[in-house]
Amino acid sequence: MQITSAGQSALGAPQQTHFHRRRQDSLTIILFLVPAFVLFLTFVAYPILQSVYYSLFNWKGLGAATDFIGLENYLNILSDQTFLKAVANGILLVALSLTLQLPMALALALMVGRDLPGRAFFRIIFFLPYVLSEVITAIMWLGFYNPDPDRGFINALLILIPGVKAVPWLGNMNTVLAALFIVLTWKYFGFYMLLFMAGLQNIPAELEEAAGIDGANRRQLLTHITVPLLAGTIRTCVYLSVVGSLQQFILVWVMTKGGPVNASEVMATYMYRFGFVRFWFGYGCAVAIVMFLICLTFSLIYQRLARQPDYLGGM
């Protein structure tokens, strides 16, 4: 039975069976898609479209939105120094992630490689922070960074060096963003390392062995074989890292609330402040739309540049 059917399908399945099956299945198809569509349209698509509408109003959330102000919210956002600061901070976090976090993850993945004894142990430890929630991470690092050396471990280590004083890492406008970036790296580099390790796993060992026999040294092996073959994984990580950095919220909100004096403001904390603290819903919706457009623009550029997006599947 199976053999016949395989043969048939190879020759192009008989038209009749196909047609019958189709009619019979169309109901199933619709029923199967309904739950996903209902949820997606109600809680993802509709809210976004509705926000486009609200973003054109001066609306504080009470009663209907009647005070139509056109694009004024958008103009105010784009001329607000705090918002521009939030965008700049986001770009800075993206840049730091791409230049420090990803290379570090790649280096560690190469170190663990395919067959280092203890590989599983390192993987479990490095990935552990990813599984801890952002609140837990934030509270833990709040303590770690505490300016009082009797409470914050980092400062306790720091004052062991003669002549060095404790630093209020999160309370200082110059250090706060770097301090947050360290926490982000602590939490997320294991994820990228994991992706790189999975990518390495897919490179046939024979390839590197062959190059080795042909006289390639370790560095040539790395730059000419391993890294080029990881290009797909690297592209994916870059994409995830950019989107991930742009949407940061919980860690920043719990640790600094965007402060001191907006020094660590990011777009999501900016939106949260206007939406949920001040209840300027119209304005907050406009911020959300601006964030959408930024994410969307990046996604489109990415898909243009990386012709075959490995994310979204090599389908």
């Binding site: 399908s9 996903a36 926000s51 203890g118 929630s133 471990f153 919980i250 819903f281 599947g313």
Partner: protein
């Protein structure tokens, strides 16, 4: 390793790179574990000990903080809320996404690529960007202060990615199996239910494990949806607890440790599933 062959006669030169490798890796292990260890130690100290010697091993360990937290009903309420949300959201994601992924992987119909593109568009819209728009809709339909509000939003924002993951797995099941099932009189649903799902069990486990972690750790959605403290989930409760008892560092440390324990245990049990779900989601689609 061919590249190290020339060093074979000098064993110390051969072993040195490996030694350095381990040194660097162990350094990172220490950096990763340091905040966690200090937190766990802190929870096992009294308030006074926390100030007098904050970084030492708790000797003897004090369990008062834990007794105080576990003795109050609020911790158990939060635990229950988190469990309910996690289990329902996970069941929902697995159910809804496997239905849709089946349609996209194994059937053909007009408008397939359009519906697929619409449903997977969500991957570009992270929840923290959409949270205010979503909040306004929840307010309209009366799902604020309701665990169903959290569940619905969590599922909705996890649909896109998980349909992609499952579609990849479902598409890998050989075509011949489907033809054989149809010839044996199976309809589409029969094939899906009796053949595809059992075969895809590892993929379903991966999706489930990943969803459980995401749902369990989620703070943003409960933060905007829930106001009433009887409906707080564990992350939300942890944040509120830190705000309320921030001065008692030992007690906060114990609370944070307690709220992390379920996730860590689950991670150690389901590490393989979580990892395969993540890599499939990011690399294969």
């Amino acid at each position: 390793m061919p590249a190290t062959q020339s060093y074979a006669r000098k064993p110390w030169r051969k072993h040195l790179p490996r030694f350095l490798q381990y040194l660097v890796l162990c350094l990172f292990v220490v950096i990763i574990l340091a905040p966690i260890v200090i937190l766990v130690f802190g929870g096992l100290k009294t308030r006074g000990e926390m100030y007098s010697r904050p970084y030492t091993i708790p000797n003897p360990p004090r369990w008062e903080n834990y007794a105080k937290i576990l003795g109050a009903p609020s911790f158990w309420t939060m635990l229950r809320n988190s469990l309910v949300v996690m289990l329902v959201a996970t069941a929902g994601v697995v159910f809804i996404c496997s239905l849709a992924a089946f349609v996209f992987a194994r059937t053909d119909f007009r408008g397939k690529s359009l519906t697929f593109n619409v449903l997977t568009l969500g991957i570009m819209f992270p929840i923290s960007v959409a949270i205010l728009p979503v909040y306004l809709v929840l307010r309209q339909i009366g799902l604020l202060n309701n665990l169903w509000g959290i569940i619905a939003v969590q599922i909705a924002f996890l649909i896109s990615g998980n349909i992609l993951i499952l579609r990849g797995f479902f598409a890998a099941v050989p075509r011949e199996l489907q033809d054989a099932a149809y010839i044996d009189g199976c309809d589409a649903f029969g094939f899906f239910w009796r053949i595809l799902l059992p075969l895809a069990r590892p993929a379903l486990a991966a999706v489930a494990a990943l969803t459980m972690v995401v749902s369990w750790n989620d703070l943003l959605v409960p933060l905007v949806v829930i106001d009433k403290d009887t409906l707080w989930t564990l992350p939300l409760g942890t944040m509120q607890f830190q705000g309320q008892y921030g001065q008692d560092l030992a007690l906060v440390a114990a609370f944070v440790t307690l709220s992390a324990v379920p996730a860590v245990i689950f991670y150690l049990i389901a590490e393989r599933q979580i990892v395969s779900g993540l890599t499939a989601g990011a690399l294969k689609g």
